[in-house]
Symmetry: C2
Subunit: 344 residues, 2 copies
């Protein structure tokens, strides 16, 4: 089948390409293909492409497109890969519309918006939020396809995520602790029983309960903990927060998310071993359940810029231990974005 | 048994503590304990500690030590944990000497130097190198014990690592490629056969071979690749390097390590999916062996500063896929440091 390169795309006189194959858009008796579509069909030997009577080979068409369209080789790699996997995929805003398996234009609405990017590009959180808002308006899901150095593609679904737990509220007793650098120590059997064994704060080291700074600041803010320093002077909430901010640069952001999750009645513990701020549980009824958390939550500022290797690392690590990877940021309220790897 | 707090430690009149338990150092008929040792023995009910005739309880001694010794609670947590695991551990330079299981002072030399740090402290590469040099002089191995927010401890062994491979050298033919943004494309069946299938450069996408920038720069430097841009102009080595440096900030560091590994006859591919620069193979004889690499190598500058969460993340990820995590840096030559988690 002969295709003619024009200004608005490659014109082909074969409606079946559109009707059966789901390629291009119809205009009268013609189908107009995008460059990705034409190159793919040329690669498959389904069409030839002519420019002003001269036939273009695959390499020539590809190089032309690469000269004209930014990151064309990245977009084409994704287009091609999804076509090869048997999906109908259409050029559209940001960068493609992907149809559910078996679906195509005119038959079904598209399900996903797909963004194709090189592993070298960074992704500002702000952009991700805009894309998610767009998806929400259009009632689509969002996929980011990251093309690595070796042109291997990893797909991530990105979505807002509601967080809610069913754990116990707060204790009704007040305890006393001692602030030591970046942690608080409590020597008190009842504190162990209540704070640790019942409400899952802190960690026991022999007879001693150790609380993290964020746990301590939370309990202090709720009036449930009174602190002194090593030499016995009282440490008030303001002073504690000052110390916390010195120890951890992003303490305030982290604290807000901790508070939000605790108030959503989730149990929140450190995620250090997994390279994230928190591991988060929906429901914990006994200490043994602290063995497996459902979520890893990492707190980022609103002006944060993701890099693809970082996303790859965080998500792979979380999935490797059967957890969901969640990034939390502050908007009018705290919002949670889940990024998970999918295999289309 | 009664211990007396003096300026140089806690004096106890019981040589068995040293001879059988491996605690403290002998001086005449006395054993002099460090603060960690005394607190541990006090916690276990083995000694009492008196200061000028007044008995100190655990809490008081602990708080005094915390006031006097920086990060005492961190060091004590590690001391205590290793003692509980049945090891003999002694205060010493940086921060402890750890004896092999069953060993103790006078009986066996210590095997490890153990550094205890909070997950909040950062670790400059320069410090790590100094510690490794010290260990080399003393013929010890190096352990870093990281104490997280919840006072849970993760142990890492850190060591220099020789890298050596047994893969094929270089092809003896020269190929032509086209530079597209951050990758090179080659349309040539023989290039696929030689570069990809025999020497494991690049990745195939259908009939096309895609090379990464670092692979391309390496092949160009060896005179095995000639590049043109999309409009057909030749791209020389200098120009290519300029472009590479624009695309990747640390391109030069990365390139040096890539070159070193290739010259050590290892096969080097992108480690993007694992959040590291390279995955590295000792020997690859057929494409199917590219499925599992032995190493992940991440390149860092000499002035790099590690954070414990980052070490935790990288090592956990690497171990999760049965690979060794290696950090590479440039000294007079390229050096490789392996960090691996151990469970003492």
């Amino acid at each position: 089948m002969r295709g003619e390169l024009r200004e608005d795309g490659i014109h082909v006189n074969d409606l079946e390409l559109h009707n059966r194959g789901g390629y291009g858009r119809r205009e009268g008796s013609e189908v107009i293909l995008s460059t990705e579509e034409a190159i793919y069909l040329l690669e498959k030997g389904k069409i030839d492409v002519y420019d002003d009577g001269r036939r273009l080979d695959l390499k020539e068409l590809f190089l032309r497109a690469s000269g004209e369209i930014q990151d064309f080789e990245i977009k084409y790699a994704v287009y091609r890969d999804l076509r090869e996997r048997g999906y109908c995929i259409h050029p559209g805003i940001a960068d493609f519309r992907l149809f559910p398996r078996g679906g195509k234009p005119g038959k079904t609405p598209s399900e996903f918006l797909v963004i194709a990017i090189s592993e070298r590009r960074s992704i500002p959180l702000e952009d991700l939020i805009k894309k998610l808002e767009m998806c929400q308006r259009l009632k689509k899901k969002l996929i980011i396809a990251i093309v690595d150095e070796e042109t291997d593609i990893t797909y991530y679904e990105v979505r807002w995520r509601g967080m809610e737990g069913f754990s116990k509220d707060l204790p009704s007793e007040r305890f006393k602790g001692i602030l030591l650098n970046d942690r608080v120590i409590i020597w008190n059997e009842r504190a162990r029983e209540i704070l640790h064994n019942t409400f899952f704060f802190g960690e026991l080291v022999n007879s001693t309960l150790y609380l993290s700074l964020v746990e301590s600041a939370y309990l202090v803010s709720k009036g449930l903990l009174i602190l002194r320093n090593v030499v016995g002077e009282e440490v008030g909430e303001e002073e504690l927060l000052k110390i916390c901010r010195e120890v951890e640069e992003d303490f305030d952001e982290k604290m807000k998310v901790y508070k939000d999750l605790r108030e959503k009645r989730m149990v929140v513990k450190t995620g250090f071993k997994f390279g994230a701020h928190f591991r988060v549980y929906e429901k914990v009824e006994s200490l043994s359940e602290l063995y497996h958390s459902r979520y890893l939550v990492h707190v980022v500022r609103r002006d944060y810029v993701f890099t693809p290797p970082e996303i790859s690392r965080a998500v792979r690590l979380a999935h490797g231990v059967r957890k969901s990877m969640i990034f939390a940021y502050e908007d009018e309220k705290i919002r949670y974005i889940e990024i998970r790897r999918i295999r289309p």
